[in-house]
Amino acid sequence: MEPSVDITELYAAHRLSLVRLAVLLVDDLASAEDVVQDAFAALARRPDAVKDPSKALAYLRVSVVNTARSALRRRRTARAYSPPHDLSPPSPEDTAVLAEEHREVIAALRRLAPRQREVLVLRYWSNLSEAEIAHALRISQGTVKSTASRALVALENAMQATTATASGKEER
């Protein structure tokens, strides 16, 4: 069967936005690029998987989220067996130029569970609806709702904890 989508065109059109999505999920640019490359490679292996070109971006977005989750899992596994300085993916350089107020939020985001983080990124950066997030993450809309709610609470707590830690250090 002839593939219905032109992967080269998709690559040119969506690579940047997908890398941006990935970097919000895996923190560093190099991993984000790998994640996106893997997503396109997966599509290239199954060019007939997406028959409707208008749905290709949705397919790739799901692929990026899933691949990013796998990358984070591998990173955690590697950390368990390697000295921390060998692998420090949340690259400080990547976020060093962020304004302080944003840096605090991004740092707190990293402390959330992967699912919570995915829901927040898809909701507040990708601007997906609950239904779209549910489909992307293969969870129910109710779970999206509850996860988002808990994630915001957890994010706030993480930010407060970060602030408290920073204050403590300043006081010392």
């Binding site: 992967i7 080269t8 690559y11 040119a12 690579r15 940047l16 890398v19 941006r20 970097v23 919000l24 984000a32 690029e33 490359q37 997503a39 396109f40 490679a41 997966a42 599509l43 290239a44 292996r45 199954r46 060019p47 998987a49 997406v50 749905k55 290709a56 949705a58 397919y59 790739l60 799901v62 692929s63 899933n66 691949t67 989750r69 796998s70 899992r73 990547d94 976020t95 130029v97 962020l98 304004a99 107020e101 944003h102 840096r103 605090e104 939020v105 991004i106 985001l109 927040l120 507040y124 950066w125 609950e130 489909h135 992307a136 293969r138 988002a148 709610s149 915001l152 994010l155 706030e156």
Partner: protein, 469 residues
């Protein structure tokens, strides 16, 4: 705004932070566009068993949902690797027959110390590209074991077996060959009477062939060389540390005989995942067919370009030219000098030369052209003059240099012909480095240089002083 969560300062703050972080990734930060090359063919699709189960679920779904909806793109997106999904073979092909050119594999699948004989029954197909049923009788239990695979040929010869999980029995290794991409191995483990294909983690590391790397030009791609092999019951793979120029008009790969590679062995987990284990650096000598661990300073060998072809003839002289298509070359004195190539049986070709003090090297530039007579012309009074003349079967022609490097000689660029017929140009780079370029025939009347490694010279005028930088 999230309709199910009250707008708060946190919402807006989160939205702004995400946008700011994402915007830090600019187009110019991305690595150069790399072609998305499918390294896996269609066999790496979801499990046959799950496919069968999916068919059942589809029927149930139709019953439960009434009319089925169109599949969403999200439905077919890859899943996270939470678990290893093994492809269980369908019980097909009992009546297929082995191709006469297939060779049964002999290996100890059940670990009882006695080899099983695995036969390969091919699905009937006009192009001999059907599926293959692997079938054996286990020596330990007398039970039948089988598996099914699709390697796009029914002529099957297994590689040496491996014990990738270290459990004392052996796994069957077949391979998929692909002229374009090189191919990859497939490992089958005996699991409850079935030969089940292991799922490969990081499949991009378990391939053979030339895999595109960043860079390239009109006449070449940059590639890394991948390989896999079985050694002492272990599956290995490697990827060249450096990338090399592969001609797009020819099959040339500009690579030295000894190269360094990153290497992995492959371990089979209990879940059926074939995962790479980093083995560091190895040094591959293609001439000796040996692979050894790298030393601390291991690097690709320098290209064999230090021995210069120095023999040449001048006006009024002739000489046989060997090392390729045999012929005799002569420089005839006339009002204008003429190059004469005699190919035997009274056949001769002539070309008028527009150069002062012409010389013809008596070594044939076989790296450029080897399907007929070819010579390198120089000038005794013009060190920068270099031309390649070849016969197109009817007459002599000068090959027109094209591409990124000019065929000239000066302080920043030196060209020489090696004793084995390789035409090389060294182009000065930063500091005292030089990039070597290797001339290739790229069209009927054109030649272009493909990039090689960067080197240094103790004396840039003397190729014999070539060294690593």
């Amino acid at each position: 705004m999230n309709p199910h969560h009250p707008a708060t300062g946190l919402d807006e703050r989160l939205r702004a932070a995400l946008a700011a972080r994402a915007d830090l990734v600019r187009p110019e930060d991305l690595a150069p566009l790399a072609p998305v090359v499918p390294l896996r063919p269609r066999w790496r699709t979801p499990l046959l068993l799950l496919a069968a189960a999916a068919a059942v679920l589809l029927v149930l779904g139709l019953v439960l949902d009434g009319l089925g909806r169109d599949p969403r793109s999200d439905d077919v997106a890859p899943s996270p690797d939470d678990r290893v999904e093994l492809e269980l073979p369908a019980d097909v092909g009992r009546d297929w027959e082995a191709d006469e050119y297939s060779t049964p594999a002999r290996l100890d699948l059940d670990g009882d110390g006695t080899d099983e004989k695995v036969v390969f029954l091919g699905e009937p197909s006009p192009q001999l590209d059907g599926r293959v049923r692997m079938q054996t009788t286990l020596s330990g239990s007398g039970e039948e074991a089988w598996g099914v695979t699709d390697i796009e040929t029914t002529i099957v010869n297994a590689l040496d077996p491996v014990d990738a999980d270290g459990d004392g029995d052996q796994e069957l290794v077949l391979y998929y060959d692909d002229f374009a991409n090189g191919g990859f191995p497939l490992v089958f483990d005996l699991r409850e009477g079935l030969l089940v294909q292991a799922v490969v983690d990081a499949p991009e590391l378990l391939v053979r062939g030339q895999v595109p790397a960043p860079g390239g030009g009109e006449y070449y791609d940059m590639v890394r060389v991948h390989d896999y092999w079985v050694e002492d019951g272990t599956l290995w793979s490697s990827r060249s540390v450096n990338a090399y120029a592969a001609g797009t008009r020819t099959m040339t790969l500009i690579k030295p005989l000894v190269t360094v590679h990153d290497a992995w062995t492959w371990r089979l987990t209990e879940d059926g995942l074939l995962e790479p284990v980093d083995q560091g650096c190895i040094r591959h000598d293609i001439a000796r067919d040996s692979r050894t661990p790298c030393e601390a300073d291991s690097a690709d060998d320098l290209p064999a370009v230090t021995e210069v072809a120095a023999e040449s003839i001048g006006i009024g002289e002739s000489a046989p030219v060997e090392g390729g298509f045999p012929f005799t070359v002569r420089l005839r004195a006339a009002a204008d000098p003429r190059l004469v190539v005699e190919v035997g049986q009274g056949r001769a070709f002539e070309l008028g030369l527009d150069v002062v003090d012409p010389r013809v090297l008596t070594t044939q530039p076989v790296s450029v052209f080897s399907d007929g007579p070819s010579v390198v012309l120089t000038s005794a009074s013009d060190p920068g003059y270099v031309r390649v003349v070849h016969s197109d079967g009817e007459r002599l022609r000068e090959l027109e240099p094209t591409g990124e490097v000019a065929l000239t000689g000066d302080a920043s660029q030196r060209t020489w012909l090696t004793a084995d017929g390789t035409l090389v140009t060294a182009v000065a780079g930063e500091g005292d480095t030089w990039r070597l370029w290797f001339w290739q025939w790229v069209g009927r009347e054109e030649m272009a240089a493909l990039p090689g490694t960067t080197v240094c010279f103790d004396d840039p005028a003397d190729p014999a002083t070539l060294r690593h930088c």
